[in-house]
């Protein structure tokens, strides 16, 4: 816990040093929200009842999707890749803390900071774009649980991607394909229930919907009751698989680093 706060403090200091970045960052996030708002508004004016959810729910979904991109800003994969490239990874390996846990603490700190960055944009959106709040306390709690699970899923996916850098060295280009896949099959921009059946089938199997589609659908009340618990179970299941996968892959990577004398 102490280490977690150390990283949180560090990130806060970073944010206050680059105040310019902070304010432009808020504007940038709001601009993205504004964009998706007008897309849905225009479409709903044309055909108000094409989708099972009302306009306010859809706009809330879209705006949340932009706010939750903060998960995509997690730098864990770049951190690992840079440390491997520069050779500084050996200092990380010498630390008296499990590397996986160390990265998780770091990433949590970063994400907390990013949330602080996303909050002002969300508040502005609440007043200007008219997004709605969760229907009741139960929904809000389920949403938070789902967001935490979603964060853990994306963290481990990022961790695995970063670990690949030990084997291939350069992950820059792979990560472009990776990020667009997460956004697409995660339902960040367009909700999965609008997907054609074949794509929906793929999206339902892949872990990516844990990060965006599931928490956001819970928030707007599209996922409720037994379906909601099934979705939370889905997230939990993938998290367990990915934790095991990460540990296994890192063990391999660690061995490789040690053999290379890294």
């Amino acid at each position: 816990m102490k280490i977690f706060w150390a990283f949180t403090r560090q990130a806060f200091q970073y944010a206050s040093v680059y105040r310019f970045n902070f304010f432009v960052g808020i504007l940038l996030t709001f601009l993205q929200m504004y964009g998706i708002y007008w897309v849905w508004r225009t479409l709903y004016t044309q055909k108000p009842d094409a989708f099972g959810v009302n306009m306010e729910q859809m706009i809330t979904y879209g705006v949340l999707g932009m706010a939750m991109q903060i998960f995509m800003w997690s730098r864990v994969q770049w951190y690992i890749a840079n440390q491997v490239k520069s050779g500084a990874i050996d200092t990380d390996l010498m630390k008296p803390l499990d590397f996986h846990i160390h990265m998780l603490a770091r990433s949590t700190g970063e994400t907390v900071i990013s949330s602080v960055l996303a909050l002002p944009s969300l508040i502005i959106s609440y007043f200007i774009l008219g997004i709605s709040l969760p229907a009741d306390i139960g929904t809000a709690v389920a949403f938070i649980v789902s967001v935490v699970l979603g964060f853990l899923v994306i963290f481990h996916l990022n961790f695995i991607l970063g670990t690949l850098a030990v084997f291939t060295l350069d992950i820059r280009h792979i990560s472009w394909a990776y990020m667009s896949t997460v956004r697409f099959f995660g339902g960040q921009l367009v909700p999965l229930w609008l997907f054609p059946p074949a794509l929906l089938l793929i999206a339902n199997i892949l872990p990516f919907q844990s990060t965006f589609a599931i928490p956001m659908s819970i928030y707007i009340g599209k996922l409720t009751g037994a379906d909601m618990f099934r979705a939370l179970g889905f997230q939990f299941g993938w998290m367990v698989v990915l934790v095991l996968g990460s540990r296994l892959l890192w063990t391999q990577a660690h061995r490789r680093l040690v053999v290379q004398g890294g």
Binding site: Y18, F20, N21, V24, G25, L27, L28, L31, Q32, Y34, G35, W38, V39, R41, T42, L43, Q46, K47, A50, F51, D170, R172, H173, I174, W176, A177, S180, T181, R183, F184, L189, V190, L194, F195, P196, L199
Partner: protein, 265 residues
């Protein structure tokens, strides 16, 4: 003309350097194509449900997207390194350009080539070709000649805007977040017709950051949708906008250089 010879030579050297990493190029090209296909698929999914977006059908939207992308592809080929300007200034690697007896500007813009731009170009040309067929367009010779003008203007607009914004780092030390901001305006203009947004947005992308001249206004002419604006011929102004921006950029660059050398950097 010495400057152009030097520029071509620098680009040639960068290309040779890049050619050494072939696997990297294949992976990069694959990723860029995938990214664009997924973006187009998202546009396709929403429009498929609704048939059209404010009077733009799916192929017209693809055309809009790909016209922007074609101009952008030359930007990403030749000028991608503007994003690294702040890093160059922090590390002092920018100083190498001041030491050589040649134009700093030419040296800087000729610094790097990113082959990935070819993947953008590929997607854009295929997309525009398909849209041309699917929409049953029949352009006159004049319009055909207008297309390369639009593309080059688009490249110049993106290049000059980004370079001017990157120059912020000569004063503040940081510019990449401002570049992200400009990119976001670009993304919105690329993905959606600006007539769906409110007035202030349209004013910004027409006057302040005139990225709508990269695709939207010329596309109205090329797709025969001129009834969308009050000024039907506004799309023909793209090259004029590009030239004005080139002029502004040379002024900004001049001041940036004065600032940089005077601060002893």
């Amino acid at each position: 003309m010495e400057a152009i010879r030097l520029y071509i030579r620098l680009v040639g050297i960068s290309m040779q350097a890049r050619l050494q990493y072939r696997a990297d190029f294949i992976m990069g090209a694959f990723s860029v194509i995938m990214l664009n296909v997924m973006n187009l698929a998202l546009i396709g999914i929403i429009v498929y449900r609704f048939v059209e977006l404010n009077g733009w059908n799916i192929w017209q939207l693809f055309f809009l997207y790909c016209l922007w992308l074609l101009g952008h592809s030359f930007y990403s080929l030749f000028f991608w390194h503007f994003w690294d300007l702040e890093e160059d200034l922090i590390r002092g690697t920018f100083d190498q350009f001041l030491l050589r007896p040649a134009s700093v500007f030419i040296q800087y813009i000729g610094r790097e080539v990113q082959y990935i731009g070819f993947a953008d170009m590929f997607v854009a040309i295929v997309g525009i070709g398909l849209a041309y067929v699917k929409l049953g367009l029949h352009w006159s010779i004049g319009l055909w000649l207008f297309v390369p003008v639009v593309v080059i203007s688009g490249t110049m607009i993106e290049m000059t805007l980004n370079l001017m914004v990157a120059c912020i780092s000569f004063w503040t030390g940081r510019s990449s977040i401002a570049l992200d901001m400009v990119m976001e305006f670009n993304v919105l203009v690329q993905h959606y017709p600006i007539d769906i947004f409110s007035a202030w947005f349209r004013i910004v992308v027409t006057g302040l950051l005139p990225v709508a001249f990269m695709n939207y206004y010329p596309a109205l002419i090329l797709l025969g949708k001129i009834e969308k604006t009050a000024v039907p011929g506004i799309g023909f102004l793209s090259p004029v906008v590009a030239l004005v921006l080139v002029g502004l950029t040379s002024i900004v660059w001049h001041f940036a250089m004065r600032r940089y050398s005077s601060s002893g950097g």
